[in-house]
C-alpha cells in the first residue's frame, strides 16, 4: 500500500517539477541571449513580477489566458527596452542598476495589484492537453504528457535558442559582441544594436515567464516570484551559457522545489523547518557556481560597457 503511495507521490513530484521549471527556463533562456552579448540583466525578477501581474490582470478582465500571456510579453518587451537604455546607452553598472529594476518591479507590481485588484481572486489557468496515446502510458503519461501547451512550447524553445545562438548570423553577432566587441565593431556589427536586441528578447521572455507563473498558479500576490528571477540569472551560469545546460538546471530546481513542496504537504518536513528547506535552491546555486566557475568561462565582455575606440 505504502509502495503505491510513494510511486504516486513521485509521479506527481516529477510532473510538478516540470511545471515549476518552466518559468525559470523561459527567464533563463532570455537572460542567456543578453549575457552572451555581454549584458548582465539582474532585473529579471522585477520584470517577471510585472509580467506576472499584467498577465494575471488581463486574464481577470478578459478571461483569456493567451491574452494574458501576450500582455506579459508586451510589458516584458518594454522593460527589456528600458534595461537596454540603462545598461547599453547610459552604461550603468549592471550589478546595481538591475537591483533598481528589481525594486521597481517589486513595488510597482504590488502597488498595481493593491490599486486595481485588492483581494486575491483566482483566475483561469492554462488548460492541460492530454497528448493522445502517450498520455495513456502509466506513470510516464502523467509525468510528461498531461501538461498545458505553454509547457511544451517552453521546452520546444530550447533547440530554437540553441539554433539561433550557434547557427544563425544573428547568433554569431551576439557571440562576437559578447566576446570581443571591438573586433565586431570593426567589422561593422553594431554592438549597441545587437545588445538592444538581446535585452529586448530577454525582457520579453522574462515577462512571459512571469505571466506563465501567475497563469499556472492562477493567482497573484506580493512578491509572487519569491526570488525566482535571481535564480534564473544564476541558472545561466549554472548552464554554462548553453540552452541545454540551462534546461538541466531549471529541471533540477523545479525538482527541488516540487520535492520541498511535497514534503511540506506530507508534513515530512515540519513547518518549523520549512524556512531551512527554502534555503536549498540558494545553497545549491552557490555550490553549482563553484563547480561551473572552475570549468567554464563567462563571455569575455560580460558586464563591460562598450565605448568605441577605447
Amino acid at each position: 500500500m505504502s509502495d503505491i503511495f510513494t510511486t504516486a507521490v513521485m509521479v506527481a513530484v516529477v510532473a510538478s517539477a516540470i511545471r515549476l521549471a518552466v518559468p525559470l527556463l523561459l527567464a533563463s533562456l532570455g537572460e542567456t541571449f543578453g549575457q552572451r552579448s555581454g549584458v548582465l540583466n539582474l532585473g529579471v525578477d522585477g520584470i517577471m513580477l510585472l509580467g506576472a501581474f499584467t498577465g494575471y490582470y488581463t486574464v481577470l478582465k478578459s478571461g483569456n489566458v493567451w491574452m494574458g500571456l501576450l500582455a506579459g510579453a508586451i510589458v516584458g518587451l518594454i522593460l527589456g527596452l528600458a534595461s537596454a537604455v540603462i545598461a547599453v546607452t547610459l552604461q550603468a553598472e549592471q550589478g546595481i542598476s538591475g537591483i533598481g529594476i528589481y525594486l521597481f518591479g517589486l513595488g510597482m507590481s504590488d502597488l498595481l495589484f493593491q490599486k486595481l485588484v485588492g483581494t486575491p481572486i483566482p483566475i483561469d489557468t492554462f488548460p492541460a492537453i492530454h497528448i493522445p496515446v502517450l498520455s495513456e502510458i502509466p506513470y510516464i503519461g502523467e509525468m510528461f504528457f498531461q501538461h498545458s501547451l505553454v509547457i511544451y512550447l517552453a521546452f520546444a524553445a530550447i533547440p530554437v535558442a540553441t539554433f539561433v545562438i550557434n547557427r544563425t548570423t544573428f547568433g554569431m553577432k551576439i557571440r562576437a559582441v559578447g566576446e570581443y566587441p571591438d573586433a565586431a565593431d570593426t567589422l561593422g556589427v553594431s554592438v549597441s544594436g545587437v545588445r538592444y536586441a538581446t535585452e529586448i528578447i530577454g525582457g520579453t521572455l522574462a515577462g512571459i515567464a512571469g505571466a506563465v507563473l501567475a497563469l499556472t498558479l492562477g493567482i497573484f500576490q506580493q512578491n509572487l516570484t519569491n526570488g525566482a528571477g535571481f535564480i534564473a540569472v544564476a541558472l545561466v551560469y549554472f548552464g554554462a551559457w548553453r540552452p541545454t545546460g540551462i534546461m538541466l538546471g531549471a529541471l533540477l530546481f523545479g525538482f527541488v522545489n516540487a520535492l520541498v513542496l511535497e514534503l511540506k504537504t506530507l508534513e515530512i518536513i515540519p513547518r518549523d523547518l520549512s524556512n531551512l528547506a527554502a534555503m536549498a535552491p540558494a545553497i545549491i546555486t552557490i555550490l553549482a557556481l563553484v563547480f561551473v566557475a572552475r570549468r567554464f568561462r563567462a563571455p569575455s565582455a560580460l558586464t563591460k560597457p562598450f565605448t568605441r575606440g577605447k
Binding site: 552604461q91 525594486l103 521597481f104 517589486l106 502597488l111 535571481f230 563591460k304
Partner: protein, 400 residues
C-alpha cells in the same frame, strides 16, 4: 563633449549629478502620484517636512541614515578594490543575528563590556557573510554578484527560522501569537541615548567608521593595496601585492561594516528586540541596497558618504511621510526607491566622465592628488582580450 566649462564649474556639475539624478527619479515619481490620483506637490511638500521639517523629523532622518552610512562605507571599501558587494542585506541580517545571540546567551555584564561585545558579535556575523563570497571570488572565481544575492536569500530564511523557532520570545509562544521576534534583549546592551529619547550613539559610530575608512584607504599600506588591486589587478600582482587575499579581505571588511549596521539596528531599536516580518527586507528596510546608492551619491568617497547617507535617509523618512499624507500604498515607496537606484547608477558614468576631464587637466598642471574611481575601474583600464593572466587569470569586477 563640446560644451566648455571651467574646471571649477565642471567639478561642481560632476558633484551635483547624483543629486540631479535623484530629482529626476522624483519627477518620475510625481507622474506616478498623478496617475494614482494624488497631488504630487502636496506629496513632496509633506516629504520634505517629514524628513527635515522638525527636530523629531531630523532625528528620524539621522537614525534612518545610520545603517545606510555603515553599509555605504563598506560598499566604498569593496568598490575601491573593484568588488561589487550586493550582499549587505544578508550581512546585516547575520550581524543582527550574531549580536542578538550574544545578548541572549552572554551573562549579564556592565554596559561598558556588554555593548562592545554585542557590536563585535555583529561585526563577526557580517564579516563571515562577506568572507564567504570574498573567498569564493578570490580562490574559486565565483561571481560575487550572484553569490551575494544567493547568500541574501539564505540569510533571510535563516533569520525567519531562528526568530520563529530557537530565538523566539517565550511570551509569544505562551500567548500563541507567535510573532517572529526575540524577547526584550539585555538592557545592559542598549545603545546609550545621546539626546531626547531616541537618538543613540549609532550615528556617531557610523561617522567614526567613515573617518576610519578614509584613514584606512589613504593612510595605511592595506588601503594602498586595496586601491591598487581596484585600479589594476595586473599591476598590483606585478608589484607583489597578494591580490586574492586582498579581494577576500575587501569583501570581508565590507561585510563587517554591514554586520555592524545590523547590530546597531537591533540595539538601537525602540523595542530592543530583533524582529522580522518574514519578508526579504523586513529587518533591514532595504538598507543593504540603499547603502550602495548612498555610497554612489557620495562619489564612492567615505567622507562624502556621510552627507549622502543623511540625504538618502531623509528621502526614506520623507517617503513614508508622503505615503501617509496622500494615502497611497507603501509599495509606491519600494517602486520609487528602485527608480532612485536606477537613475543614480545610470548617471554615475557622467559624473566620472566630467571628473576625468578635470583630472586630466589638473594632472597636466601637477596640482591634483586625488583620484576618481568608477565602478569597474580595472575593467575599463584593460582592453578586452588582453587580460590573459595565465593561470592566475580571473576577470575583474562582475564576472566569474
Amino acid at each position: 563633449m563640446s560644451i566648455h566649462l571651467s574646471p571649477r564649474n565642471r567639478r561642481l556639475l560632476a558633484y551635483s549629478i547624483p543629486v540631479l539624478a535623484v530629482f529626476a527619479a522624483l519627477l518620475f515619481g510625481a507622474v506616478m502620484l498623478l496617475l494614482l490620483g494624488a497631488n504630487p506637490f502636496k506629496g513632496y511638500a509633506e516629504m520634505f517636512v517629514g524628513a527635515f521639517g522638525s527636530g523629531d523629523a531630523l532625528i528620524a532622518t539621522i537614525l534612518k541614515a545610520t545603517p545606510l552610512l555603515f553599509v555605504g562605507v563598506g560598499i566604498v571599501i569593496a568598490f575601491r578594490a573593484n568588488v561589487i558587494n550586493i550582499g549587505a542585506e544578508g550581512q546585516m541580517v547575520l550581524g543582527g543575528l550574531f549580536s542578538t545571540m550574544a545578548a541572549l546567551y552572554l551573562p549579564e555584564m556592565h554596559p561598558i563590556i556588554m555593548i562592545p561585545l554585542v557590536l563585535l558579535a555583529g561585526i563577526v556575523g557580517g564579516a563571515l557573510w562577506g568572507w564567504i563570497p570574498g573567498m569564493l571570488k578570490a580562490y574559486y572565481r565565483v561571481n560575487e554578484i550572484l553569490s551575494t544575492i544567493m547568500l541574501n536569500i539564505v540569510a533571510v530564511q535563516l533569520m525567519a527560522y531562528l526568530l520563529r523557532g530557537p530565538l523566539i520570545d517565550p511570551a509569544e509562544i505562551e500567548r500563541g501569537t507567535r510573532i517572529p521576534q526575540t524577547a526584550r534583549l539585555a538592557a545592559s546592551a542598549d545603545l546609550p541615548i545621546l539626546f531626547g529619547d531616541r537618538l543613540h550613539i549609532g550615528p556617531v559610530l557610523a561617522v567614526l567608521c567613515a573617518i576610519g575608512a578614509y584613514y584606512l584607504l589613504w593612510r595605511t599600506p592595506l588601503g594602498f593595496r586595496l586601491r591598487a588591486v581596484g585600479l589594476s589587478e595586473h599591476a598590483a600582482r606585478y608589484a607583489g601585492i597578494p591580490v586574492r587575499r586582498t579581494i577576500a579581505l575587501a569583501l570581508t571588511m565590507s561585510g563587517a561594516m554591514a554586520g555592524l549596521a545590523g547590530a546597531v539596528l537591533v540595539f538601537g531599536s525602540e523595542s530592543h528586540r530583533m524582529v522580522t516580518d518574514g519578508s526579504t527586507m523586513g529587518f533591514t528596510g532595504g538598507a543593504g541596497f540603499n547603502g550602495i546608492v548612498a555610497a554612489l551619491l557620495g562619489g564612492l568617497h567615505p567622507l562624502w558618504t556621510i552627507p549622502a547617507s543623511f540625504l538618502f535617509g531623509g528621502l526614506i523618512v520623507g517617503g513614508q511621510a508622503l505615503q501617509r499624507a496622500v494615502q497611497v500604498p507603501s509599495a509606491l515607496i519600494v517602486a520609487l526607491n528602485g527608480l532612485v537606484v536606477v537613475f543614480v547608477v545610470a548617471a554615475d558614468r557622467y559624473r566620472v566622465r566630467l571628473l576625468a576631464v578635470d583630472e586630466h587637466e589638473a594632472a597636466a598642471a601637477g596640482t591634483e592628488d586625488g583620484e576618481t574611481v568608477t565602478m569597474g575601474a580595472a575593467r575599463d583600464a584593460a582592453p578586452p582580450g588582453t587580460d590573459s593572466y595565465g593561470q592566475d587569470e580571473f576577470d575583474g569586477g562582475g564576472e566569474q
